[in-house]
C-alpha cells in the first residue's frame, strides 16, 4: 500500500516535471460544456486538455494549432494559473469593470510572460458572443524558436466574469486549416 502510494506520488511528480498533459477526445458533431460557463458545438473531433486552468483544444498538436478557452475568469484572477516557482504576484490579473481595451492589454501582457515574441495586435472589433457584447482582435507572434504564428482572440464579460477564447496556429498551413471550424465553434457559444 505504502509502495503504491509512493509510486503514484512519484508518477505525479514526474508528470508534473515533464509538463505532460492528459488529452481526452471531443467527439465530432457534439455539443459540449467548456469549464463552468460555456456550451459549444464542434463539427470535427479535437483533443482536449487542461493547462493551468485554461482548456486547450488541438487537432495536430498545441505547437501547430490550439484553441484556448478561459471559461470564466473571476475578479482579481490571472488568465493562467501561476506556475510554482514563478512570481505569482506579478501575474497581470483581470479586474471586474475593465473595459474591453484593458482586457486586450491584459491578454497581451499575459502572452508576454508566456515566451511569446513580437506580439502584434490588429483590427479590434466589437462583436456579439452568445448574446453578450464582446470584442475580437487578430494577432501575430513569433515563438521562442522563431516560428511565425497567426491568431485571434474574442471575449465577453458576463456576471463580472471574463470569458475569453483564443485561437492560434502556425502562419504556414495550420492556422488556416481550422479557422472556419473555429469560427463555427465561436458562433455556437452559449452561456450557461
Amino acid at each position: 500500500m505504502k509502495n503504491r502510494l509512493l509510486l503514484i506520488t512519484l508518477l505525479g511528480v514526474v508528470f508534473a516535471l515533464t509538463g505532460c498533459a492528459y488529452y481526452s477526445l471531443v467527439k465530432s458533431g457534439s455539443r459540449i460544456a467548456v469549464g463552468q460557463g460555456l456550451w459549444v458545438e464542434s463539427e470535427i473531433a479535437w483533443s482536449r486538455s487542461k493547462q493551468r486552468g485554461a482548456v486547450v483544444w488541438t487537432v495536430d498538436g498545441p505547437n501547430l494549432q490550439q484553441l484556448v478557452f478561459f471559461p470564466g475568469i473571476d475578479d482579481g484572477k490571472p488568465l493562467f494559473q501561476p506556475v510554482a516557482g514563478k512570481d505569482s504576484k506579478k501575474m497581470p490579473t483581470y479586474r471586474a469593470g475593465m473595459t474591453f481595451l484593458e482586457v486586450m492589454d491584459l491578454l497581451e501582457a499575459t502572452m508576454a510572460r508566456e515566451n511569446v515574441h513580437q506580439f502584434e495586435k490588429r483590427n479590434m472589433q466589437p462583436v456579439i458572443i452568445g448574446g453578450e457584447d464582446g470584442f475580437r482582435f487578430d494577432f501575430s507572434y513569433v515563438s521562442e524558436e522563431g516560428l511565425d504564428y497567426l491568431g485571434f482572440a474574442t471575449g465577453a464579460v458576463k456576471d463580472n466574469k471574463l470569458y475569453l477564447v483564443m485561437y492560434a496556429g502556425t502562419t504556414l498551413h495550420y492556422y488556416e486549416k481550422y479557422t472556419a471550424e473555429v469560427g463555427h465553434i465561436i458562433k455556437s457559444i452559449e452561456f450557461f
Binding site: 484593458e102 501582457a109 483590427n123 522563431g146
Partner: protein, 418 residues
C-alpha cells in the same frame, strides 16, 4: 600582546598584498593597451598575475582542429545558429551595424572576430561566447544613456573574449556533461529557447559566473578600449551605479541574481573603475560620452523596450529606471507616458493621481505617444467621468486615425451618446 600585534601586521600585509594584486588586475590591461603608463615599468610582468595562465586570444585565431578548445568552439557555433533564428532576436541591420561599429572602434584588431546578436529580453545582461558571439539583451540597451555606456559593456565583454575567461568552465562542463549540454546552456543563457526560469538561471550561473579576478581583468580591458576609442571612461562606473539603484528598489529576484552571479558590482569594483577613469582623464582629456548616434539608433526602439519592461510588472524598480531616464532628458513625453502607465497598472493608493499627473506632463511635451490620450480616456472612464473620457478617446483617434482599436473605441463612444 606582541603575538596579537604580529598577527595584525600579517593580516595587514596579506590584505595589502591582495589589494595591490587586485589593483594590478584592473591596471594591467590599461598598460598593455597604452592608455596608462606603468610608473613601475619593468616591475610588473604579465606572468606575475596568476590568472594569466592562458595565452591571450589572438586576432583571427581559431583553435587547432584537434584541440579540446575546438570542440567547445564547435558547440558554440551550434548555439550561435540558434541565436540567428531565435524568435526574440532583434534582427535590425542598422542597429547591428551600429553596435558592430562600436566593437570595431573599441578593438579594431578583433573587429572580424566578434559577432553581435541583440535579443529582446528586458533584463540587464550581455554574454560573450568563447567563439566570439556576443549576445546583448535589450534591457541593457534600454539602460544605457549614451554610446560610451554601451561601449563600456562591449569593451568589458571583449576583455572576457581576449582572456578566454569562459573557456575553463566550459571545458569542465564538456568533460562532465558533453557538448550538447554546452549548446543547451549557451542558448538558454543567451535568453534563447528558454524552457523555464530555473533552467535559465542555472545556465546563466554556469556560463557567466566569472571569478572576481576575471571581472577585474575584463573591467581593465573595458576601460582601456573605451579610452583608446575616445569614450568618456567614467561612463563605465556611471552605468553600474544606475543599475545598482534599480536592484535596491527591485523585488524581482531574477534581476539581481542575473547581475550578482554574472558581474558582481562590488564597492571595490566601482571604486577601482572610478579611480582608473580619473587617472585616464587626468593624463589626457579628449573623451566624450557620444550621444548623437546613440539617440539616432536607439531612441526609436526605446518605446518597445519600455513596453517589455512594463510587462515585468516590477513597478518600484521601473520607477527608478524612469527617473534616471527622465533626468537624462531624451524624449521625455514617452517617459512620462510610461510613468503614467506604471502608476495606472500598479493601482495602489495614490497611483491614480500620480498616473494623471504623469500623463498630463507627457502631453505638455512637443512629442508624446498618442497612447497617452487613450490611457487618459481609460483613467477617466474608471473615475466615472465619462464625458472627459470620451473627449480623450476622440483626441486619440484624431492623433492616431489608423490605430488598431479604432472600431472598438467608436463603438464605445456611440454607445455613450445613445
Amino acid at each position: 600582546m606582541i603575538r596579537q600585534f604580529i598577527l595584525f601586521l600579517l593580516v595587514m600585509l596579506v590584505g595589502a598584498g591582495c589589494a595591490s594584486k587586485n589593483q594590478q588586475r584592473y591596471e594591467q590591461p590599461l598598460y598593455e593597451v597604452g592608455v596608462l603608463e606603468d610608473s613601475r615599468a619593468g616591475k610588473l610582468q604579465i606572468d606575475e598575475v596568476s590568472i594569466r595562465e592562458l595565452e591571450n586570444q589572438k586576432p583571427g585565431e581559431r583553435p587547432p582542429l584537434d584541440s579540446e578548445e575546438a570542440g567547445i568552439w564547435m558547440a558554440m557555433d551550434n548555439a550561435e545558429d540558434k541565436y540567428k533564428t531565435a524568435g526574440n532576436r532583434i534582427n535590425n541591420p542598422t542597429l547591428n551595424n551600429y553596435l558592430q561599429d562600436i566593437t570595431c572602434r573599441l578593438a579594431p584588431e578583433y573587429c572580424g572576430d566578434i559577432r553581435i546578436y541583440v535579443i529582446h529580453k528586458p533584463y540587464f545582461n550581455a554574454l560573450m561566447a568563447p567563439n566570439g558571439a556576443l549576445v546583448i539583451w535589450s534591457g541593457l540597451l534600454l539602460r544605457a544613456t549614451n554610446e560610451a555606456q554601451v561601449a563600456a559593456v562591449i569593451g568589458h565583454e571583449i576583455g572576457h573574449y581576449i582572456r578566454r575567461h569562459s573557456l575553463q568552465r566550459l571545458r569542465d562542463t564538456v568533460n562532465t556533461s558533453g557538448a550538447l549540454v554546452v549548446v543547451q546552456l549557451a542558448t538558454a543563457a543567451a535568453g534563447v529557447g528558454v524552457v523555464g526560469d530555473l533552467a535559465y538561471l542555472a545556465a546563466i550561473g554556469s556560463l557567466q559566473s566569472y571569478s572576481r579576478d576575471q571581472e577585474r581583468e575584463a573591467d581593465g580591458y573595458g576601460l582601456a578600449f573605451m579610452a583608446r576609442a575616445g569614450y568618456e571612461p567614467h561612463d563605465a562606473g556611471n552605468l553600474w551605479k544606475k543599475v545598482i539603484k534599480e536592484i535596491e528598489a527591485s523585488d524581482d529576484k531574477n534581476f539581481s541574481i542575473l547581475l550578482f552571479d554574472s558581474h558582481p558590482p562590488s564597492e571595490e569594483r566601482l571604486a577601482a573603475l572610478d579611480n582608473l577613469a580619473d587617472r585616464i582623464v587626468a593624463r589626457e582629456n579628449h573623451y566624450s560620452p557620444k550621444k548623437e548616434f546613440f539617440y539616432t539608433h536607439l531612441l526609436p526602439m526605446r518605446y518597445g523596450f519600455l513596453q517589455d519592461e512594463l510587462h515585468l510588472r516590477d513597478f518600484d524598480r521601473m520607477e527608478v529606471l524612469l527617473e534616471y531616464l527622465i533626468e537624462d532628458g531624451a524624449k521625455p513625453g514617452e517617459l512620462y507616458y510610461f510613468k503614467g502607465e506604471l502608476h495606472r497598472l500598479r493601482n495602489k493608493e495614490e497611483d491614480q493621481g500620480k498616473a494623471l499627473d504623469a500623463y498630463e506632463k507627457a502631453k505638455e511635451e512637443d512629442e508624446f505617444p498618442p497612447e497617452t490620450l487613450r490611457a487618459l480616456g481609460l483613467l477617466y472612464q474608471k473615475k466615472g467621468e465619462t464625458d472627459k473620457a470620451g473627449k480623450f478617446f476622440e483626441e486619440y483617434l484624431k492623433l492616431k486615425p489608423d490605430c488598431m482599436d479604432r472600431e472598438m473605441i467608436l463603438h464605445m463612444l456611440s454607445g455613450r451618446r445613445q
